[in-house]
């Protein structure tokens, strides 16, 4: 049936089911080479056993089913490739698919766990009829997909998941009612195998024996009761535009226009209690050239003045300044990345503390725009064994305040680490003792005081063969030493004495 012959007031719903979505997503991340791929499954820990959470097409064809333990599956199919399941990523992927389907109809809703329902009433003729729309939607989704088309959402869903050809719901199995296992078993025991069998029975009897829910589902599938969908509302992006009857050429005027746009965007963000993290400005020149400006902030911002400051910084760092040419025709502002920003109540001291923190955050943003965000850094602790890996430098705009672990005063660390450690020539008194004197940067240092060794083993648990003898990597013996000038150093010797013929010493840091 074609969309043009549709009766007025009749709805048409299209259900899409992506049975292999989780596995296809995971394989896509792996960039699989073409050819006959081995069977693939995602596993999740259920209770105390690893069980298959979802399968790909190949694995389901050789008889594996979701829910069987990984050990059973491996016994049946030794070359099964598995990866841990990630339900969160699957859900995000489904939301991405939903956004892709918006071009066909504004009424799209998620049909958990792995499907979508589109209300395509009155939309099909724009895409060459319903068959054309379905083909385009499947191509756009890009995943293995089955579809069902009917006049109600519930029936479309049942057809997509259990149906064959056509739109007749009578031959569908009772599993299409989507009831729990107990109710389905009861139906099967009563000899009711298809929707058609059930539809011929009086409704009151079904309600008495199998519950009201069964009747409701049945009526929805048969189209007697409405099965409305709740379409996911699109959040309209924050965009403003200013067009000029005459091109404007002065940079100051352009900045004023941008400020006006920012004020308008701020009003709209305020209504949503949001603040922008990324601002994008497009300047359209009258000769067709486009110039773009983009800034990012570390915290959600609404205040036009602070955004203007960052924009001026960005313009200052541009290799070639804004070139108006024959003037700008239009200016567009978009805020593609917003986050919640709620007005907080000021504390007792008039908000002096918060004001200071906001000032520092703004300063970090400004320096990040000017120098690049990877040059404004904060220290973040890492739970690693090696001293040079126990902290990371992350861009300050992204750093989350994390508690620093309690520093151990009896195992002091140098204030400055050399990265990488610098090699030194050492004369040691006893083979496994601290050095007597060492040569660093061409100068000889006499060792007066020494403390050690503090042995720090390599991270054998991160190595492939780390549990085997000799595969763990070399341990380091650290010494805290002081030379005759009173300077304190942190030096280490690689390896256990007696294991290697060659003993290497390195200087790793300076103590105050």
């Amino acid at each position: 049936m074609d969309g043009l012959e549709m009766q007025p007031g009749q709805r048409r719903c299209l259900a899409l089911w992506f049975p292999f979505l989780p596995c296809e997503r995971a394989q896509r991340e792996q960039a699989n080479e073409a050819g006959d791929a081995p069977p693939f499954a995602l596993v999740a820990r259920v209770g105390n056993a690893l069980r298959l959470a979802s399968l790909d097409r190949v694995a389901s064809q050789i008889g594996l089913v979701a829910g069987m333990t990984l050990a059973d599956a491996r016994a049946r199919c030794p070359d099964l490739v598995t990866r841990p399941a990630d339900p969160q990523a699957d859900e995000e992927e489904l939301h991405r698919l939903l956004e892709r389907m918006r071009r066909f109809t504004p009424m799209v809703s998620i049909d958990p766990p792995d499907g979508l329902i589109l209300d395509i009433s009155g939309c099909a003729h724009l895409f060459g009829g319903e068959t054309g729309l379905i083909a385009q939607a499947k191509a756009r989704a890009g995943y293995g997909c089955r579809h069902g088309l009917s006049s109600t959402a519930m029936a479309a869903r049942a057809l997509a998941r259990h149906g064959g050809k056509g739109e007749d719901v009578a031959p569908l199995p009772v599993a299409a009612l989507d009831l729990d296992e107990g109710a389905l078993a009861a139906l099967r025991r009563a000899g009711l195998r298809t929707i058609g069998d059930l539809a011929r029975r009086p409704r009151s009897m079904i309600a008495a024996r199998f519950g009201e829910r069964t009747v409701l589902r049945l009526r929805q599938i048969l189209g007697e009761a409405a099965s409305p969908i709740a379409p996911a509302r699109a959040v309209d992006p924050i965009r403003c535009e200013a067009r000029f009857p005459e091109p404007i050429a002065r940079t100051d005027d352009v900045m004023e226009v941008i400020e006006g746009l920012l004020q308008e965007a701020a009003r709209r963000m305020e209504a949503r209690h949001e603040g922008g993290r990324r601002f994008h400005i497009l300047l359209l020149r009258s000769d067709g050239a486009r110039q773009e400006l983009g800034i990012e902030t570390g915290h959600p911002v609404r205040d036009p003045a602070s955004v203007m400051r960052l924009l001026r910084e960005r313009i200052d760092t541009l290799a070639d300044p804004l070139d108006p040419g024959f003037g700008f025709d239009a200016v567009r502002l978009a805020v593609p990345w917003t986050e919640a920003l709620v007005e907080r109540q000021r504390s007792w001291d008039g908000g002096a503390e918060e004001a200071r923190q906001e000032e520092v955050a703004a300063l970090i943003d400004r320096l990040g725009v000017r120098l690049g965000p990877e040059r404004v850094l904060r220290l973040v602790p890492c739970d690693r064994h090696l001293p040079e890996r126990a902290q990371r430098m992350v861009p300050a705009a992204q750093a989350l305040p994390s508690a620093w672990p309690e520093a151990q005063a009896d195992l002091p660390r140098p204030l400055l680490f050399f990265d990488p450690p610098q090699g030194v020539d050492v004369i040691a008194g006893v083979p496994d003792g601290p050095p007597l004197r060492f040569r660093w940067r061409g100068r000889l240092h006499e060792v007066k005081l020494a403390e050690g060794p503090e042995r720090i083993a390599a991270e054998w648990w991160r190595r492939r063969e780390g549990h085997q003898p000799g595969g763990a990597g070399r341990a380091r013996d650290y010494y805290r030493i002081e030379d005759s000038d009173g300077r304190r150093y942190w030096m280490f010797r690689y390896g256990l004495y007696g294991d290697e013929a060659q003993i290497d010493w390195y200087l790793h840091g300076l103590f105050p």
């Binding site: 200071r356 602790p381 126990a390 005063a409 105050p512």
Partner: protein
């Protein structure tokens, strides 16, 4: 504003002195400005050591700049920001862009916002500037602990210049882990106030602006 001169191998000591000298308010930001070093002798600040020196590593922001001009500009921006307690500018060698004009600018910005600025100058000749004090810092032999282990950090501080006062004092300072500050070795009893009681080293009404 203060200048701290040191030899290249005493960098860690001078940095510790600068951080200890700085008046850190409660939970106020500390900025450390460094030039991005060559690969051969790149050095990284250690958060654990900072925590032992009484600086909360979460409050430290490290800004790595490409050149001296960028560094001074960033320092000026930070000095004008009211939420910043201390700015340490780490430089090595001549640091030619740091002249009288630049230092006066930093001093004025710091006076307006009550921010402490410390300029570390490794392997550099002292140059006339607008700084209030100029120190020369070198590591000193520590008091050995048992079994000939190196003791707590200790340093020799030499006051080269003090604006409006007598310079030339020398102190042997030893880190006191109990109190979390450097202490004068000649006077082991507790000294109230900062490192040594210097009015210009205090902030607030007594010594407005550094």
């Amino acid at each position: 504003m203060h200048e701290v001169h040191c030899a290249g191998e005493d960098r860690a000591t001078a940095l510790a002195f600068a951080l200890a000298m700085a008046d850190r308010g409660d939970g106020e930001a500390v900025f450390l400005l460094r030039a991005r070093e060559r690969q051969r002798n790149a050095s990284v600040i250690s958060g654990d050591a900072l925590a032992l020196l009484g600086v909360d590593p979460r409050l430290l922001t490290i800004v790595e700049t490409g050149g001296a001009v960028d560094m001074l500009r960033a320092g000026l921006d930070a000095a004008r920001c009211p939420g910043v307690a201390t700015i340490v500018i780490e430089s090595e060698g001549r640091f030619a862009d740091y002249d009288l004009t630049a230092s006066r600018r930093l001093v004025l910005a710091a006076e307006a916002s009550r921010t402490g600025i410390v300029i570390l100058r490794c392997d550099a000749e002292p140059r006339s500037s607008g700084a209030h004090t100029r120190w020369s810092v070198a590591s000193a032999p520590s008091v050995p602990m048992e079994a000939d282990a190196p003791g707590p950090p200790s340093l020799d501080a030499h006051l080269l210049r003090l604006r409006g006062g007598a310079a030339g004092g020398r102190w042997r300072l030893i880190w006191d882990g109990q109190d979390g500050r450097f202490r004068d070795a000649a006077r082991p009893e507790a000294v109230p106030g900062a490192v040594v009681s210097f009015p210009p080293l205090r902030k607030g009404a007594a010594g407005a602006g550094e």
